[in-house]
């Protein structure tokens, strides 16, 4: 459908729309040779039933019309979910996705096609379609493929493919019981445990061949409380690129406490007054500010097309000296972490703003070539069905000179916000929003009454300039953040120290 427009990018950190997400006992690899997190290149070839020679032939077909570059992205993803509703673990599901995407580039132009069947004939057919982006006739000698070895940022002890549904069920039941035991007002609890394992084989016409294993788990609780005739809800989630070892008592206690405290607070919460005010963002998930207000606008495709509000600001001072903003693909086991990006580029820690100066965009292969810079490992795609585009990974601000206490004490009349559900940005106008599920009023330097359900709106460059204090308490959030752009969803993480923005417009009530 054509209702996704690339200028409007959004993020959802909530867990309320699980329908359609993909249980099975150690779900095996469906007639392919089983690969594991320890497998090598030869095992990946065998798994996808391909050979070096086949790949060479497909790349040659891709370049046969004069393309500059061709890549192949093989993917096999297995996802499972188990769900609890009404005190019973009574639903589960699984999904298998398998295929190969072929991309051909000619300058800034992209030809893309994919096949769900991996055979030489099927791949050559889609390569021919992708090749049509160029229109000359050319013969290419076979490309010499060399393995690109990458670091392992997401080590697992027990892979999800080795965990049966029987082992997962007690964790959901226990988390449910913990939530009910914490408060008599709890009326309903839902718990979901999602896991996935993706196996990627990548090859390109520059002779790079690489493979990757990508684990993921999300553990989510939703709770509804009743007090008299009032109802309030809250959710808490954790998501990491890690194995079964992640599930333990401590994690369940953390989630249970968070969801019960959150729902309780909602009964006391008010809506703040409408208008512009000082806003203090709590350390952690408030990194959504960076994601929406700056991150998307730093994605180089928007800048290449000059449609970003930051398009002409490279090298300029955009914030205070203590503002340094990073997009990092290397943080061990975080949701946005990748060993290699989806274009075979090693990921890295990319500085977007250093000491207040805009120093770098987030690049894919096309934009890096356009700007004549090295790619930054930000070329990502939702699956083999999509061509890669510049995307964020784990986006956070480095710690600054202030303390959380000093920051709150400096605000006479404002709000403190700590939990968020979603956000959106208009790249060109720079207007960004994020939705606050909970927080507090700040009155004369102290947190007072809880607040809930307000949208905050600001302008990216303006908000960046208005960051007037940065705490020394950086925390990268482990929630279930999924970023949407151009119709593609990819997992991301966000982080922030406690930060004060001198002025944002707070949705609220007029006296």
């Amino acid at each position: 459908m054509n209702n996704e427009f690339s200028r409007r990018e959004f993020i959802r950190t909530g867990s309320f729309s699980l329908a359609g997400m993909a249980i099975l006992p150690s779900f095996l690899s469906m007639g392919c040779n089983r690969i594991t997190e320890q497998s090598g290149l030869e095992e990946y070839y065998a798994h996808f039933n391909v050979s070096k020679e086949m790949i060479q032939k497909v790349i040659a077909e891709g370049l046969s019309r004069g393309g500059d570059y061709c890549d192949l992205y093989f993917e096999h993803s297995l996802s499972n979910y188990v769900g609890l509703q009404d005190k019973q673990v009574n639903r589960a599901g699984s999904n298998i996705d398998y295929g190969v995407g072929v991309r051909v580039l000619k300058g800034d132009q992209t030809g893309y096609a994919f096949s769900e069947e991996i055979s030489l004939e099927a791949m050559k057919k889609v390569a021919k379609t992708a090749a049509s982006i160029a229109n000359e006739s050319k013969d290419y000698p076979p490309i010499n493929l060399q393995e690109r070895v990458h670091p392992e940022f997401c080590k697992v002890k027990t892979s999800w493919e080795d965990v049966s549904i029987k082992q997962k069920i007690p964790f959901l039941q226990k988390l449910n019981d913990k939530v009910f035991n914490l408060d008599d007002k709890v009326a309903k609890v839902q718990v979901y445990l999602d896991d996935s394992s993706s196996y990627i084989l990548f090859a390109n016409s520059e002779g790079v061949i690489s493979f990757d294993y990508r684990p993921m788990v999300s553990f989510i609780a939703v709770c509804v409380m009743e007090k008299g005739d009032r109802r309030e809800d809250f959710f808490a989630s954790r998501s990491m690129r890690i194995g079964y070892e992640y599930l333990n008592e401590e994690l369940m206690d953390e989630i249970a406490n968070e969801v019960v405290e959150g729902a309780n607070k909602q009964f006391e919460a008010v809506k703040p007054k409408a208008g512009q005010m000082e806003v203090v963002l709590a350390a952690g998930g408030a990194g959504i500010l960076l994601h929406e207000a700056m991150g998307h606008a730093f994605e180089a495709d928007f800048n290449r097309k000059e449609t970003s509000i930051f398009s002409d600001k490279m090298g300029q001072k955009v914030g205070e000296d203590f503002v340094t903003i990073i997009d990092d693909g290397t943080n061990p086991n975080y949701r946005g972490t990748l060993n290699i990006d989806d274009e075979g580029i090693l990921t890295q820690k990319t500085k977007m703003v250093e000491n207040g100066v805009l120093t770098g965009y987030l690049h894919d292969r096309i934009s890096a070539k356009h700007y004549n810079v090295a790619p930054t490992g930000n070329g990502r795609r939702e699956s083999f069905r999509y061509a890669p585009i510049p995307r964020m990974r784990n986006t956070y601000m480095e710690a600054g000179p202030h303390t959380k206490e000093d920051i709150i004490a400096s605000v006479k009349d404002g709000i403190y916000v700590d939990t968020f559900t979603n956000g959106e940005v208009q790249i060109g106008a720079g207007d960004f929003t994020f939705y606050v599920k909970s927080g507090y009023l700040i009155e004369n330097g102290k947190l007072t009454q809880p607040i809930k359900d307000v949208n905050l709106i600001g302008n990216g460059p303006e908000a960046l300039r208005q960051i007037s204090m940065v705490g020394n308490d950086l925390k990268i959030d482990c929630g279930t953040g999924t970023c949407g752009k151009g119709g593609q969803g990819v997992p991301v993480a966000m982080g922030l120290p406690t930060v004060k923005v001198a002025q944002l417009t707070v949705g609220g009530i007029n006296a």
Binding site: I23, G458, N510
Partner: protein
Amino acid sequence: MKDNKKVELAQWASKYATENGAKEVSVSVYDSKESEVEVRKQKIEKIQESIQSGLSIKLYVNGKYSTHSTNRLDRNDLEKFIKEAILGTDYLAEDQYRSLPDRHLCYEGTEKDLNLYDSNYDSIDPRQKIDLAMQVEAETTGMDERIISVSGSYNDGSYRSYLVLSNGVEGFKESTSYSVSASASINGGDSRPSDYHYNAARFWDQLSGEGVGKYAVERALRKIGAKTIQSGKMEMLIENRSVGRVLSSLLQPMYGYNLQQKRSFLEGKIGQKIASDLLSITDNPFVESGRNSRLYDDDGLASRKMTVIENGILQTYYIDDYYGKKLDMEPTTGSSSNLIFELGNKDLTALTKDMNEGILVTGFNGGNSNPATGDFSVGVEGFYVKKGEILHPVSGMNITGNHKEIWNHLIAVGNDPLTDRAWQTPSMMFEGVDFSGL
């Protein structure tokens, strides 16, 4: 046209699952073709083509339930997939409400043609598709020197699905869609406003790209110089194409899963007034060539036309088969089809003239709504209107309130429904809305 191999595959999967331990089964096999062209500066930016297929299966095993999908349709693979899925399901807790829908509520295979499929889909010359995308961009050439970038896009798709329930219900759906869109960015000094427009059709010969690019550019140009204004309670006129955003938050609490999970402020409100007299909505799945027209839903329940809200009084909920059983209510359907509104007699221009002071909202930005309480808060952009005159564009503002109240403040409905969308929303005007700005 039906692909008999796919029908046989669905029938085989249902039979195989029941022979291997499932008491009941629902199988859906689907396939699709899509193509996309994006053009910028009269050069193809991107061409994409895809062909895909898959199978999804709902398993009812010893009173337990699970759902699975795969795009690997080789029967040997599927046998293993289905057997393992059945084994895994047996570890779950029993759920007495899980079973196939009652046969008498299901689709019976009437041959009514909703006219959703264009048999010319496969014979359209790719060059024509590129030309359409090119034209969309070309018509904006020289329009205004402040244009930074216009992308013209063409998308099409052909979709088929086969439903087989182990109780004997079978269904086949087939549809095509085409669209042309434009996205424009404008140099507005400090800001680079953008906007979009698109035309969609079920049939190739009904698709027109004319004016799409120009209109996207005009919309973006109108946003130059947007200001944030003082907070206050004012009127709000929402342009037809943006009404869906607030409407979806009113529909959420009507869904069975929210009602059953105590996350709905509309619980117990059937027959009660939830909106002003002006709001009447019909859910009509039988609209000829409608965007969401269908003869049956995902459960296999036969479609029916239903009144959702009549003169502000809530008439029905969206109840799928499972939550119907859990709530002890008769199922309606689990998702909306085409929404048809009772119209007023004025267009957007006339409605704007009627405004005393307020904001004509032409787009929303982020925001959310809480279905349990009705609280919402959303970013808006549009135009400041005083005494019927549009004074200047507005950005950086929020509206905040509660769905229990705002729909009672609906004071006018336009005569301008979006007939090429599933939700055929007209423009709508509200009074006493809380805007926050400066």
